[in-house]
Structure formats: structure tokens, C-alpha cells
Subunit: 420 residues, 2 copies
Amino acid sequence: MNANLETEILELARNAREASRATANLSFTQKQDWCFAAIDKLEASRTAILKANREDIDDAQKHGVAAPLLKRLELSDARWRDMIHGLRDIAAFPDPIGQVTGIRVRPNGLRVGQMRIPLGVIGIIYESRPNVTVDAAALCLKAGNAAILRGGSEAIRANRALAEALRTAAREVGIPEAAITLIPMTDRAAIDVLLKADSYIDLIIPRGGPELIRKVSQDSRIPVIKHDAGVCHLFLDASADLAMARKLVHNSKIRQMAYCNGLETLLVHRDAARRLLPQVLEDLREESVEIRGCTTTCEIFVHAKPATEADWAAEYLDRILAVRVVDSLDTAIAHIERYGSNHTDNIVTENYASAQTWIRRVNSSTVGVNCATGFSDGFQLGLGAEIGVSTSKLHAYGPMGLEGLTTLKFVLYGEGQIRE
Amino acid sequence: MNANLETEILELARNAREASRATANLSFTQKQDWCFAAIDKLEASRTAILKANREDIDDAQKHGVAAPLLKRLELSDARWRDMIHGLRDIAAFPDPIGQVTGIRVRPNGLRVGQMRIPLGVIGIIYESRPNVTVDAAALCLKAGNAAILRGGSEAIRANRALAEALRTAAREVGIPEAAITLIPMTDRAAIDVLLKADSYIDLIIPRGGPELIRKVSQDSRIPVIKHDAGVCHLFLDASADLAMARKLVHNSKIRQMAYCNGLETLLVHRDAARRLLPQVLEDLREESVEIRGCTTTCEIFVHAKPATEADWAAEYLDRILAVRVVDSLDTAIAHIERYGSNHTDNIVTENYASAQTWIRRVNSSTVGVNCATGFSDGFQLGLGAEIGVSTSKLHAYGPMGLEGLTTLKFVLYGEGQIRE
């Protein structure tokens, strides 16, 4: 470990912690002003930011980086627009901080409630996509936190330019610049220093591939909220309506193949398999989806290939679907407990008891009846922009919006109460 | 590391994980039946349990264990009664699991809410007090979780006897015994195995001294909710009423010296110091409390000794109080930010703006106006029995009741909605 690197990063983290005392007390208007100032600064520096982004991409190309990664690296027009829209949405969103809920009067007259407060300093460790710099900083700040941002070294020029615009906007509206701290060192050892800075950072959110997430969760001394994988299921119950089944399977698989809330395994009740599968799977075949089925599926649908054990746990993010016929709702639930990833698992049914049992017993982070899997998303659920999707149960479970970046303290309003 | 030990403990943890699938679906009545059966079994085995406890104590005495620890080890009549009452309270408490809150209708008609579900498997690592075995197991089970209990080796005989009664009760009412798993190995390496069993355990709660808590937080690969220290403050504002100040300071310091919610540092506004301190501190001197004050305090109250820097951060749990005169409410808040422990910090004031500023800006886990510090306690806040007091902000902050042992999943009720 380079001692200088460590000292410099800890100094940055300490400054962010100091800034978080100020961000905790920002008013709605101050945060809104920052969002609008940030939009102005970003638009004013657009040419310079895109030039930096172009240099990152050229560099990555020279180093033989693969095409999908290059695409993620690019600040396209669409991404730029989304980034600016995101800031506008966050500006308008109600302030989560300071809300008091659940006030009750205790027998001694003491009024007890809970007030929403920021977590403090959030560390975001991410890869490639430079737009995360803006999205993450804005969400953290809106929730009253300081943000420490550590993007991928391949995006460092664009990240620096973006962060500079955000910090200039902060300075202009009287927010300490350290509230938005970009770690400028591309050395991977920088991550190790951050993960041990538990006196300055309250929460680490890794956003990136499985390797990054594994590394961060294993090495961090700071709590980590992670998003592992999206092995999402639909279960077609015995009573499922054919038209609804076709519509929901097609939409869940086809809409956005590369998103974590896409369908990966279809489960079908034995009593409905022959009625539903031929048309449901033919729809997918027309979309060039490869079907990997259990023995019964392969009997019913001749174009299916035999699935292996690995298929039940696969997050394809691609034109492949695993299909299994199960004996009962219980077997479907057991399959999900064994192979699922606590992401999104929905039932298609006309039966009241099946729907209730599913909602009660499947403990994935999003559980639905008669809807596509694509709804596990901050905007779709009404949370606003999301900082990630948590598949571990502590603190936040499922799509994580502004509230996930806050906590609740107890507030006591007394008139001289003492404990007897 | 002993490979056998590791294999055996992981097997126990795997069984607890398996049992947690059953405990997640227990009804209110089944959990209530278990509580009553546990009371019966404990009462029926009382003689044997107390004999085991006596052997633990004799053994500890032989090894020269100090008197306070011996006292914590003892299952006195009062502790036994509290243990049984605790089970009765938990039996009657509403079931937290399955409650759905916040249902809202999205523009597409999808109804979205959140349902409370168990965390899964909770590991409790504790010392000395054998009654924790019963309290912790009952709280975990009531919240639908399986419990893995790892008590101190000095209490192993009593813990075994207590756990046996709880498991027999489980068997009788049809709950898998592994839902209450006591780690019978007294080897300290057992803790290391547990802390790495992140595929089987969802949350670790250490209950014990600072050394245990430090070890657990540093070594755990599983999320830890910890209770660090209780450096609690009262701030007497310029407008504080003398009678109320005397009553609240006396009660906060004297009621239970050894509890984490006792008063450790008194802050006083400069404008009120001469009016309030003489009588407030004289009350404490009559209770043999040693006063360690800042320069101004020592001028005002001749019996005060000069405080050192270390006093501002001290959790005395004893007849000592640090006292500091501050220039303003802002200075009081800055003092708490620097030296406090995020436990309980209250203001005594007659002024509306001071009260509002305090509640808004002090981000300790419990923040109060005009009440004693002793109210940060599960029962006092209306949460029921508490599993601990969290002084870190993630997931649970402050006294942690049944809800802290649960999480929320999203539930979606649709009629065929797809994402456009």
C-alpha cells in the first residue's frame, strides 16, 4: 500500500464527512438550486465533457476494450438527455429529510415519533458509465448525504469533468464542494483504502459487474448494499389465462433483455402446461429466443432444448429462457427458494388463494401477481430515481430510491417526563 | 482452524437456514403456542436449569472471575421472573410479519405496497447473561426468524439447559428445533466460523462488552448491528426552567447508573449557568456524584474537579458526571457531534426555536426535548422488548424491537400490466 495514496484518500474522506454535517441541514430550496445550477454548469461545459469522454473511449479502444464496454462508456445524446432529466426530476422530488412519522402518545404523555435523517457519507464504487457520477451525486445530496465517487479508471477523464461541473454548482449555491468528492486516483488500491475508512463512510454501494460486487462485499469494513443478480421468474398457475400468460411472458422476456428485471426462468403448473406452453413458447421462438426446457417442456414444445442444472440458476440477460413444468405452487416456490436471486418473482393466476399464497410466501424483494417482471424499478414503483436494486435484506430490499439513502431517528417531545 | 469444528458449525447453520423457511410462515397462534409451551418447559426444568447455572457460577468462581461478572451470570429469582414475563409479553405482541403498508395505485393501475417479512437467520453473539438465550430466541422467532445463539463459555451449562427447554417446546408445537440453535462449542474459533457463514446467516447482533463488539464488527462478513457506547447528553438551554432541569438531570444520572441511556455529560448555556448549575449540581453531590467540570463550571461550583479532554468522551456508567458550559446551542451541538456516541441527547428548554433546532439538527438515534435520557428503551418507546440499541445508522437506529428483525418486500397486485 502506497502510504501517500492512503493519506490523500483518507483526507478526502475526512473532508466529505465534514461536508456531510452541512448537507444534512440543507433546505429543499438549497438542494433544488444546486440541481438547476448543476444543469447549467453541465450544459456550459458540454463540449469539454464530451471531449474528455471521447479521449477515454479512444484510450479504451487502443487498449482493445470490447465493444459492449465501449458502449457503456459513451456519453451519447440519449444519455446526456437522461442525465439532465434526472437532475430535473430530483430537483422536483419531495425532500425526504425531516419528515416525522408515527407520532404516538405514551401513557406518561411523552410524544414519540421518528424523523428521517441522512445516513452521512455514501461511497459509490462503479464502472464504465460516467453518467453514474451525476445520478449518484444528485441522489446522495438530495437525501442530505455527502457522496464519495470512485468510478472506473477507463472513464476517469469524463468523470473528472462531470464532477468539476457538479462541484462548481455546489460552490455557487453555498454547499461545500467536498459534498461531491470524486476520487481522482485510478489506482485500484484506492478502493481498498475507501473500504476500510469506516470512520468516515457510512455505506458503500457497488455498481458494476459480479467481480466488483464480490470484491467490495468481501473486503469492506463498511456496510455494503449490493445487487447480486436478477434470476427472475414467472409462474403460470393452473388457472392462468392464456392471453395474459402470453402477454406477460413476452413482455417480461423481450422488453429489455439486458436488464436485471428481465425474465430468466418460466415455471408452469403441470395442469396447465399443455394448454399454455405451445403458444407462449411459440411467441418467443418468433423473437428468436432459445428455449431450454425440462423433460416435459421438451415433450410439449419440440423446439426446446434440454436444460441442464446450470440453466435453473442462470442470469442470461440474453435471448434464452429456461422453462420448467412443476407439480404444484409449492414446488414452484421451492424452485425459487433454491435457484432464485431474491429479485423479482411473479405469478400469473385467476385463483384468489394462489395469489395470496404467492404474495405471502415468496420472499423475493419484489413479488407480484398478474404483472410483468419489468416493474421492479424505482420509477415504476413510484420511488423516483433509484440508486440501485438491493437483493440483500438489510436496510433496503428491492429497488432503492432516496429513502434507502436515509435512516430514522427517534424524536421525543416531553413536558418534563422522568423515568420512575 | 479445526476442520471438524467448522464442518459441525456450518451444518448447524445450514439447518437453521432450512428451519427459517418454516418459521417465516408461522401464524400468530403458532408463535403464541410456542411462547406458552416454552414457559411450561422452563418452569418444569427450573430446578435442573438453576443447578446448571450454579455449576457455571462455581466454575467461574474457581477461575477467579470478578464479582460483577459473577452477578451477570446468575439466574436470580428476579431474572427468572423477567424472563417468563418477557415470553408472555412476546406471546401477546402483534405479529409484525405479513403487514402490508403504503399501498398506492400507479398510473397504469398496478397497486404497489410493501409487506413485512423476516430477515431469515439471526446470529446472536453474547456474554455471561444466560437469560439472553431466552429473550433473543423468542424475539427472533416472533419476527419469523431462526436464531443461532452463541453465548459465553462461562454460561454454557445454563445456556444448554435453557435452549433444551425452548427446543422441546418448539418440537411440541411443530416448529423445527433448528429454529433455535445453540452453538454448544465453547471454543472461541466457533465465533470465527459463524462470522464467515454468510450464506446461512443474514444478520449478526453482538451483545456484550466493547472488546466483543470490536472483534465481531471487524471480522464479520455478515452485516452487524452494533451498540457501541452510550455517551448521553442533556443540554440546559438559556431558557431552561430550574425545577425541570433539576428533576431531569437528577433522574437521568441517578436512576440507573450502569445503563447505556444514563447521563454522562451535562452541557449548559453560558447565559443560564449561574442560575442553574449551583442547585442542579448540589442535587448530584448529595447523591455522591463526582463532578468534573470545565473552567467556568469549577468557578461556579466549588466542589467540581477540573475535567480533562478524556472526560468529554467518557461513558462512566458510574457516579461521575462531566459538565461543560457552552456559548450557544450551536456549540452544544458541535460538542455532541465531536464527543457523542449517537445514543441519546436531549435539550431542556422553554424556547420553541431551540427545541425545533435541537430536534432537527442533532442526529443521535434518540433526540428529545424536556425529558430524561432514560426513555431510549424499547418498552418506553412502545416497541416492546428490545434486542439491542443500535448506534449505527443502517437498517435500525436506536432501540431495536421486533421490526429491526424484519425487512420489507415490494408486493405488486396487477391485472395483466406490462411495461411499455
